[in-house]
Amino acid sequence: MADKIFYFLTFLSLISAMLVIFSRNPVHSVLYLILTFFCLSGHYILLNAQFLAAVNIIVYAGAIMVLFLFVIMFLNLREDTEPRKGMAAKLAAVVSGGLLLLIMVAALRTADMSTLNNPASFDSQIGLVENLGRVLFTDFLLPFELASVLFLVAMVGAVMLGKREAGERNF
């Protein structure tokens, strides 16, 4: 059963991820991106990481996608204003993307996952919120606190750049 759900979710996330790229309308892209995030949350649940699944939906599918929509509105993107890319650029993109895919498939096909897949050390509860909290607030305390400095920089920068300057035209 879990296998079938996994394959279904993978299929769905691949399709929606491709639709993100192929949609001509940027708002449709955002909607497909949200679908992709939901599929990824499904994967997290299959991996027994419920907290990550919830955070993924709250933060990514909820908040960050709103920002995406804001930006799309800002840039006033429309289908008819989208620049057409030349054949050469498309060809280069296909070749480089294909090469990356080739390398990844070649590398991961024979990948040895014994370090993580070892049944002796495997802990199915590792993704639960208690374990995450225990690790985050003991071993990884320093990065956690420094993340707040990172957020602070982002916040200060955002309000500084977004601030209206004297004499600036505003609507």
Partner: protein, 464 residues
Amino acid sequence: MFYSVVLLSIFGILNLFLGFLKSRAWLLPVTLLFLATALVVTLTDWNKSLFFWNYMMSTDNVSVAFATIIIVSAMLILPLSRFYFPNAAAPVPEYYAILLFSVVGAILMVTYENIIMLFLGLETLSIAMYILAGSDKRNPRSHEAALKYFLMGAFATGILLFGVAMLYGATGTFNLSGLAQYVRTTLVNGASPMLYLGLTLVLIGILFKLSVAPFHFWTPDVYDGTPTLFTAFMATVVKTAGFAALYKILSVSFTGIYSVWWITLAATSVLTLLIGNITAVYQQSFKRMLAYSSISHAGYLLIAVTAMGQTSQSSILFYSLAYTLATITSFAVLILVNENRAGESFSAFNGLARHNPFLAFALTVAMCSLAGIPLTGGFFGKFYIFINALEKGLLFLLVVAVLMSAVGIYYYFRVVIAMYMRGSDDNAVADRIIVPKSYAAVLAITTFLTILLGVAPDLLVRYF
């Protein structure tokens, strides 16, 4: 080092709130005092080998030295802001605070022991730089710089994270020594391809931030559009921290698979040297030339990383210091020339020597140092790196590097020729530039140190 990170974070927040004071006169001295305090705290870690917070950070002499270079270059760049913001409403306290936070990020990149800390440091530094790149809100080129830098940088960070995930998938650890342990043990059994893929992606992510070819294409536009004061910061602090981080991850964790990655780094450094130096020849703007020159210096530094050996850390250290000092001098003179003569092209420097012999002398020393002329720090920087390459038997790298240094002399001396040989035909241009005291002090310090490093390199090298 942990304490200097904490202190600088607190000082950054304090700086934000200092902005509420009516008087701005105290802002710069106080910020310099903050940095000096952090410097002293950093230096107390000298000759100690410490780990902090469950192996998140580690301190040794090399990381102390790199952190010192970072803090000192921040201290040298800050006084240049004295008359840089004519607009009274400019959010200077915020700029200072963001600079302090970016120094926090840079120190994290120098002292990390866990890849998570590398990522955090890189992000803190990068986000601060994206903001500062776009801080000139009236200037569309500044917007362009910020957007380009942000999009490209975010993409590179994504690649880096993907690589980190691969490394974790292969080894099950984020710790540098844990990775080294895995590399040592799997060499016997044959390493997992996922490790190689992860390493490649991490390298791409870091090289991108270092503007190494073929990931350099954002550099000229970003350096050009960013306000010159912050370009100086970008060209020095980000480079130093990035190379320290690159050297650390490769030397601590991946020396066991040197045979796998050295060829990639060698190829990129050849490409970087060729692209950086040859494109720099064609530039008409001094600022763009400095951007390409920073690409080419990344190439030289990459040679030292490729020729990893006993002495390469000291040569990276020496080279970054010499490069930092010379770059700060060039940008300081560029700011003055740009503000007084309204131009960033080589012709704006015409006849500078007649009116401002001190500025011309300082810039000449900086250009000699960047070109690697003897009696300046840059000469010994290149010399040590070439010795490294020779010891490792990387002859073709050496040949390319020597050839490209010769090319470098050509474009570095264009500005010297403009200053000394060309007369200024325009009367408005002929005016003497009044050098503020803070600029004079910074230029005196950097020029003195550049010459000192060129005359007596042993003063620094004997410690490592």
